[in-house]
Amino acid sequence: MNGTFTPALPAKTGTRWVLRRFAQHRLALVSAAIIICLAASAVAAPLIEAALGIDADAVDLFNRYGPPSAAHPLGTDELGRDVLIRLLYGGQVSLFVGLTATIAGALIGTCIGLMSGYIGGRTDAVIMRITDGVIALPVLPLLIVLAAIDLNKLGLPEGIVGSENASLYRIVAIVALVGWTTVARLVRATTLALKARPFVEAARAQGAGPIRIMARHILPNLASPIIVATTLAVGNVILLESVLSFLGLGIQPPIPSWGNLLTGAQETIWQAPGLAFYPGMLIFVTVVAFNFVGDGLQDALDPRARNRQSERV
């Protein structure tokens, strides 16, 4: 069935070669295009708003749960606001939170993993036990508690607590706080392998300090696995944000996000099924797209990992 013969791959790692391999993964290519379109239309929301002549915050109680029409392409919500524009603004928030929280988590994970792997010994043991502990926790219930705590009791400055974007910062912070473990473990394992390689030894022999070795010699070699893991994590973070916002603990109205647009959808489902459908569909499409792009990047950046490990589509 599966022969063990695999053609030897030429040792090319240039950007063009990576892009070409990525382009061969057609699903990933289509997904990347979808993400770019979604992000572009979310960013362009104010322009679309002006072009259609709609005000996103205009409440029109005589026109609640309006059906799709020329003025409102996807109809209106429980306050008579335009659904399409609210979805686009929600996309801004959901994509922003998804990307920043994932990147923040990846940064924390990279620092912790590098330290743990490079220093080794007792430090490594302690950090890895803590990582195991964090992985072992029931994430969602804890996130709910973190989302419910009163920031004033933490003694944070009023400028942050009182700002209308407080729920945005809070969700980025708490998702990053639990989301660093995957990258940390990955970086630690790769660092352990890299630090024994001759080029690191050569750098040390030349008198390079630990910081310089980590930053200049080890970190560049970690780029591929970190990029792949981070891309694959974006989908999960978007799902997490949408769950928290749906439960009323994430992004707070009036700021729309794809998650909080679905809050109460079970109640309005009888009058306006569309309200329960569109935001979820957008979350679903975005998450699938990020997963496929991550898969394609894995193929393109580290083709040997694919042949070594399982063969997923």
């Binding site: 705590i149 439960l247 979820g280 979350i283 699938v288």
Partner: protein, 322 residues
């Protein structure tokens, strides 16, 4: 093995202990305190009364000494009183816990009954059309927002078709009552099952593909055994080892899934209890339910380790395992 088990159990207990303090501290950071709630309930309370009540309940003490006090009474079995349900915490938890167990066990069994055969089927035909289809479906499953899945099920079966209730539960009494009870369970179980299938299918497929590459499988084929016999008798048992581990590890994930599903369908289980306790400032209930969720997750991890050791005799736990 025994030593390993004891050490892992002690480790888990320490994590639980640390978490009990962390959660206790976090709950203290939630908006308001019990006296605030009394003040809002009774406008006649003076500030002196409030201060007296705070001293009476020990709220003026530092966090550490309050925690020790709570821990002491918890050890003697007194977990306090639930404000929302007006009964001892455990009396609110027991029925919710049994409701959640019904939900979790039936959906896990259903998900595995579908996912494991699907994974094996796909793994024995890698890169075929059916493999491709199964993979795509699994990908869709893990990318689906779990609450939206529930909402879609309500949309289809309650709104459009009108076959099933959109949420809640009914007491099971008599023959008619039993069906009534089951009717409320179908959509939550279906929702949690669909959410779980994707991940398990992918694990099973990956593990089976890996196993089918082993030398002993080639030997079995060379002996002239039929393909089904090779796959089901020789490969499956070994391919199951990592899958069983992942299932045990996923108990925590399953619990999160139950929280979402129960909230969407207003199903009176542990997940909804946690959610309501936190949203309703029911400190005692929130604390105990969160600790219970942590304990269940830790037990899942422990089970995963034990299963791994018990199923694979090559794994030794005599030195540095953890």
């Amino acid at each position: 093995m025994i030593v390993f088990l004891i050490r892992r159990s002690v480790q888990s207990l320490i994590v639980l202990l640390v978490m009990s303090f962390v959660i206790y501290g976090l709950i203290g950071l939630m908006p308001g305190d019990p006296v605030d709630l009394m003040i809002s309930a009774d406008p006649d309370i003076t500030s002196q009364d409030a201060a007296r009540l705070r001293t009476l309940y020990g709220l003026d003490q530092p966090l550490w000494s309050r925690y020790v006090h709570w821990f002491g009474s918890a050890l003697s079995g007194d977990f306090g009183y639930s404000r929302l349900y007006a009964q001892p915490v455990w009396d609110a938890i027991i029925p919710a816990l049994s409701n959640t167990l019904i939900l979790l066990i039936s959906s896990l069994a259903l998900a595995l009954a579908i996912a494991l055969p699907a994974g094996v089927f796909a793994a024995t035909r890698p890169y075929s059309l059916s493999d491709y289809g199964i993979n795509l479906a699994a990908f869709a499953g893990i990318s689906m927002p779990p609450f939206w899945l529930g909402i879609l099920l309500i949309l289809l079966f309650s709104v459009v078709l009108g076959w099933l209730p959109a949420g809640g539960t009914a007491a099971a009494s008599g023959s008619e009552g039993f069906w009534n009870h089951v009717k409320f369970l179908i959509l939550p179980i279906a929702s949690l099952t669909i959410a779980g299938i994707g991940g398990h299918t992918r694990y099973m497929r990956a593990s089976m593909i890996e196993t089918l590459r082993q030398d002993y499988i080639r030997t079995a084929r060379a002996k002239g055994l039929s393909e089904p016999r090779v796959v089901l008798r020789h490969a499956l048992r070994n391919a199951m080892i990592p899958v069983v581990t992942v299932i045990a590890l996923d108990l925590g994930v399953l619990f999160s899934g139950a929280l979402i599903t129960e909230t969407v369908f207003a199903y009176p289980g542990m997940g909804k209890l946690i959610y309501d306790a936190i949203m309703g400032n029911d400190y005692n209930l929130a604390l105990v339910t969160l600790l219970l969720a942590t304990a269940l997750t830790l037990i899942g991890n422990l089970l995963a380790d034990v299963a791994y050791a018990a199923l694979d005799p090559r794994i030794s736990y005599t030195k540095d395992a953890g």
